[in-house]
Amino acid sequence: MTKQHANWSPYDNNGGSCVAIAGSDYCVIAADTRMSTGYNILTRDYSKISHLAEKCVMASSGFQADVKALQKVLSARHLTYQHQHNKQMSCPAMAQLLSNTLYYKRFFPYYSFNVLGGLDSEGKGCVFTYDAVGSYERVGYSSQGSGSTLIMPFLDNQLKSPSPLLLPAQDAVTPLSEAEAVDLVKTVFASATERDIYTGDKVEIVILNAGGIHREFMDLRKD
């Protein structure tokens, strides 16, 4: 007697792309606002970005129900941390928390491809990139989601930051200015929208720097 396979999957892919770029004193995190399922668009106005801590922002693509659950878990843990330590979590600390949170569901994963951006304790931009089960590394820039295979080569070409593994160590953050980085992000999303059906509508761009947090939107093709 052959095993019966499930004809219902707990997962779905809502598409979308996320990008984050770290600078010397800023960090840009961006994601499109289209939420789809199969060939249908569910909404053109969905935010994939979550402000986890004062200097820490997460953008996630994949299955948005899992993303929402993940955001809630992290937000609750951050609140506990603030009560216990009387301060906000730093971005590297939140990065490890996210990694552990993802791994705790190693056998029933969050279908969530995350990019964490923020400022480290020295005020320098930092970006952490994850897989679905929590392996992470600190990088100068990253993209995740349905458009990532289109976006990453372009970012590699424009920003190719030296590997953090090189010895003698070289700085990973991009020499670009904040305005140039934001412009690059807009270009990247415009290009990804052309060739990825799941990316489009609007891009939400969040900029974190010493002055605080700033959010802007840019229209993308809606087809």
């Binding site: 095993k3 019966q4 396979h5 499930a6 707990p10 997962y11 990694s99 552990n100 993802l102 791994y103 705790y104 569901k105 190693r106 056998f107 029933f108 994963p109 279908y111 990139t129 897989d131 679905a132 089960v133 929590g134 392996s135 992470y136 590394e137 990088v139 295979t149 590997s163 953090p164 593994l165 090189l166 010895l167």
Partner: protein, 271 residues
């Protein structure tokens, strides 16, 4: 039984009356899906997370200690998801672990091993041996055997008995040895490593051998590449010796000499 020391207790989602004043009474456990077909579900999950198997890592013991080296490419199918993965994990100042297989699995369990080693130090007032540390990891991985973890690691360190090197994998295997290479590029690395190995090498010779072995593996194996990192573990702990981009190493080992015709033309053009 499953090792659950890494997990926090999760309070039950169903509230038992008004007794939710931070009381955590549920035993720690990994959540499992309520599926009729756990095997099939696990198989599909593995496909979804598709751990990075493409890699080259190696380690060997020689007169002066242990040499550990690895590439830095992570591949998901045919796509290179990262070219700067840290595959040599610093468990503590005198022990290193290498990463091959699932990146998250290796990162998480190596970190857990580091915690266990520290707890051992605090409980016993002495450092844990490499034998002991590798056994801790092997036992954890054995308890998760068949559940889809993918870990192929080498634990290298220096303890009271001198240099130590163990190979530990997610099938539950644990081997003591002097020379190991793990990953899709390991056949190529073994070729270079085995032919150049001598017990009485100096640290410089050994690091050059390790670097060459990784370079040759990245040259021939599509799933390996990026930066070749070389670490040395000696009596005072580990030290990173080098991190070189393998693309640059290629031209370092195979310098480009302009052909004779070009040289003549350059001379003819003259100052």
């Amino acid at each position: 039984m499953l090792d659950t020391t890494a997990l926090e207790s999760f309070p039950s989602l169903i509230s038992h009356g008004i007794n939710v004043a931070g009381e955590i009474s549920a035993p720690p456990s990994f959540q499992l899906p309520n599926s009729n077909d756990f095997d099939g579900f696990v198989k599909e999950t593995i496909q979804m997370v598709k751990p990075a198997k493409g890699t080259t890592t190696l380690a060997f013991i020689f007169k002066e200690g242990v040499m550990v080296a690895a590439d830095s490419r992570a591949s998901m199918g045919g796509y290179i998801s990262s070219h700067s993965v840290k595959k040599i994990i610093e468990i503590n100042p005198y022990m290193l672990g290498t990463m091959a297989g699932g990146a998250a699995d290796c990162q998480f369990w190596h970190r857990n091993l580091g915690i266990k080693c520290r707890l051992h130090e605090l409980a016993n007032k002495r450092r844990i041996s490499v034998t002991g540390a590798s056994k801790l990891l092997a036992n954890i991985l054995y308890s998760y055997r068949g559940m889809g973890l993918s870990v192929g690691t080498m634990i290298a360190g220096w303890d009271e008995t001198g240099p130590g090197l163990y190979y530990v994998d997610s099938e539950g295997g644990r081997l003591k040895g002097n020379r190991f290479s793990v990953g899709s590029g390991s056949p190529y690395a073994y070729g270079v490593l085995d032919s150049g190995y001598k017990y009485d090498m100096s640290v410089e010779e050994a690091s050059e051998l390790a670097r060459r072995a990784i370079y040759h593996a990245t040259f021939r194996d599509g799933a390996s590449g990026g930066v070749a990192s070389v670490y040395y573990v000696g009596p005072t702990g580990w030290k990173k010796l080098s991190g070189d981009d393998v693309g640059e190493l290629h031209y370092h080992y195979n310098p480009v000499t302009p052909s004779t015709v070009e040289q003549e033309m350059v001379e003819a053009a003259g100052p």
